[in-house]
């Protein structure tokens, strides 16, 4: 256990921040350019995972377990969101036979 955290600490913190930021940005771009609701949803999960990674890194950096506990909360939340999100998507797919977000523009102006 000691050794793992030590070797993690061996890599500068900035690398983690950069890596997470890049993954997070990939997620954001995915949300932005994809039109399929399921893929958008997957991109959001990617964003959450980038956050998880960063939290773990910080947690080790500060030698404080609360960051890792926070990761658990995020994972639980992600599961709940998956359940709700997929349910909503199923409902919409039943009504429209599509998961393309562009056909959803009845409500506007």
């Amino acid at each position: 256990m000691e050794t793992v955290s030590q070797s993690i600490q061996g890599i500068p913190l900035n690398h983690y921040i950069l890596l997470s930021a890049i993954i997070f940005t990939i997620g954001v771009i995915g949300v932005l350019i994809r039109r399929n609701a399921i893929i958008i949803f997957m991109s959001v999960e990617l964003m959450l995972n980038a956050v998880n990674l960063l939290l773990t890194a910080f947690s080790v950096y500060w030698g404080d377990a609360s960051g890792q506990v926070f990761v658990f909360f995020i994972m639980a939340l992600a599961a709940a969101e998956v359940a709700i999100g997929l349910a909503i998507l199923t409902m919409i797919y039943r009504n429209t036979n599509s998961t393309d977000i562009n056909i959803l523009n009845r409500l506007k102006w």
């Binding site: 997620g27 609701a37 500060w62 926070f70 909360f73 919409i92």
Partner: protein, 459 residues
């Protein structure tokens, strides 16, 4: 804290009442339970509160006041739900339970002392609301509202979490006190991570309260959701979002005012402009209310711009005034949609002749939202404007006052339609529950307007 536990148990209880087919008991049990929770939460009024649960929560006066008002508003809204959910489907118990679960999340949001609790509160609330927005399964508008809310909400959650993480990275703590100590240690040499974190956190919270330019979900979701849920979202949820926002900023980020005040000013101006100007052209009451709620966020942000000891009071009064008036508006809207099937301004024509009581309460609500004196709305606006002026944001106030004028224009459209336009129409049937809630809310609005003293310096 007992309020939170009561509400959670109440939600589970309702769920099981539904399982055992005790449908008649749902509404009374929910109302009584909420009243118990209200009393319990008010009993914890204590000016020397200390953080509890290993510094996770702090049930101070701020928390008591805001959980009190949110529970109170929820009682009013649930009282309007008589026979409402039954028309949608048979899963009535689940709907009540979901509302209560989201209320539990809201109680967390107003009493957190640790960013993890803020996050959990927001998510408990949001996840319940994603479902509630889409409970009309066969209705395309409801579907669309649910999906839009969900996608954008999930996205904003990601942003919020990234902000929380960066703050943690900079300060090494999720605790509000810890973050504050870190900033106070040397406010001039704070890590850039923290600044980015604050920005992203502000973005995430602005999304939840619906401040421009993060407001885009508001009109569509409010319009598409079932009206009762829209009422809940535009009152209780908005108040809670604001309380969470204010709590965070007051507790932890006050020393970095110079950094975030310009951002909030920008958002406030944009919210006022977009909310008011866009509302002018709307032809439908519900969508107009949605836009106007954006503009009210703009006014409420004044309290954060001019942050000092009485900001919480100002927000509290404004939020109470705004919410009570909005509940009246949505109450009338629900009746109208249910019995006329339309909520365009034309469908209000001649309402004063057939339903003088409804027309009167709605007039009071509109006057309050427009900020005419002797209604609660005026007190709210007065407090907000004088706050902004006390920190010398004169141009902001002038701009806001101009916007308030535009606001009067579209609120009066409703009054004009009700009183000054003739049309043959059938009388709307107003159930007793509605009469009680509308009459009571109208009374509260007037009472606050005439004698606001008893809540104006509460916190």
């Amino acid at each position: 804290m007992s309020a939170l536990i009561t509400i959670t148990i109440l939600a589970l209880l309702l769920l099981y009442l539904g399982l055992f087919k005790a449908k008649k008991a749902l509404l009374p049990v929910a109302l009584i339970g909420l009243m118990v929770a209200l009393v319990l939460s008010l009993m914890e009024w204590d000016s020397n509160a200390a953080p509890i649960f290993s510094n996770m929560m702090l049930y101070d006066r701020f928390a008591v006041a805001f959980s009190g008002i949110t529970i109170f508003l929820t009682i009013l809204i649930i009282a309007l739900s008589k026979d409402y959910f039954e028309r949608i489907s048979s899963n009535v118990a689940e709907y009540y339970a979901l509302i209560l679960f989201s209320l539990a999340g809201i109680i967390l949001m107003v009493s957190y002392h640790n960013l993890s609790m803020l996050f959990i509160g927001i998510e408990i609330m949001s996840v319940s609301l994603y479902i509630l927005a889409g409970i009309k399964k066969r209705d395309f508008a409801s579907n669309e509202a649910a999906l839009k809310y969900f996608l954008m909400g999930a996205f904003s959650t990601g942003i919020l979490l990234f902000g929380v993480t960066l703050i943690y990275g900079a300060s090494g703590s999720f605790d509000l006190e810890g973050i504050k100590q870190y900033i106070l240690k040397d406010p001039t040499a704070v890590s850039p991570l923290l600044y980015t974190g604050i920005t992203l956190l502000i973005v995430g919270l602005s999304f939840k309260v619906g401040a421009a330019p993060f407001h885009f979900w508001v009109p569509d979701v409010y319009e598409g959701s079932p009206s009762l849920i829209s009422a809940y979202m535009s009152t209780v949820v908005k108040v809670a979002g604001f309380a969470a926002f204010l709590r965070l900023i007051m507790f932890s980020f006050a020393p970095l005012q110079d950094f975030w005040i310009p951002m909030i000013i920008g958002m406030s101006v944009l919210s006022l402009l977009i909310g008011n100007v866009t509302a002018v052209y709307q032809q439908h009451f519900k969508r107009m209310l949605a836009y106007s709620s954006i503009s009210h966020v703009g006014y409420m942000l004044f309290a954060i711009i001019a942050l000092n000891g009485s900001s919480d009071n100002a927000v509290f009064v404004y939020a109470a005034a705004y919410s009570v008036a909005t509940i009246i508006a949505f109450g009338v809207l629900i009746l109208l949609q249910g019995q006329v099937g339309n909520d365009s301004f034309d469908s209000f024509n001649g309402l004063a002749r057939k339903n003088p009581f409804l027309a009167l309460t709605l007039t009071i609500a509109m006057l309050s939202l427009a900020g005419i004196p002797l209604t609660a709305g005026f007190i709210g606006k007065f407090m907000m404007f004088s706050k902004a002026l006390s920190s010398y944001h004169i141009f902001l106030v002038v701009f806001a006052a101009l916007n308030a004028m535009i606001g009067i224009f579209y609120y009066f459209k409703v009054i004009v339609a009700m009183y000054f336009k003739e049309e043959d129409r059938k009388e709307l049937i107003v159930p007793v529950y509605f009469k009680l809630v509308l009459g009571f809310s109208a009374l509260v609005t007037i009472a606050l307007g005439v004698y606001p003293d008893f809540i104006a310096s509460l916190i």
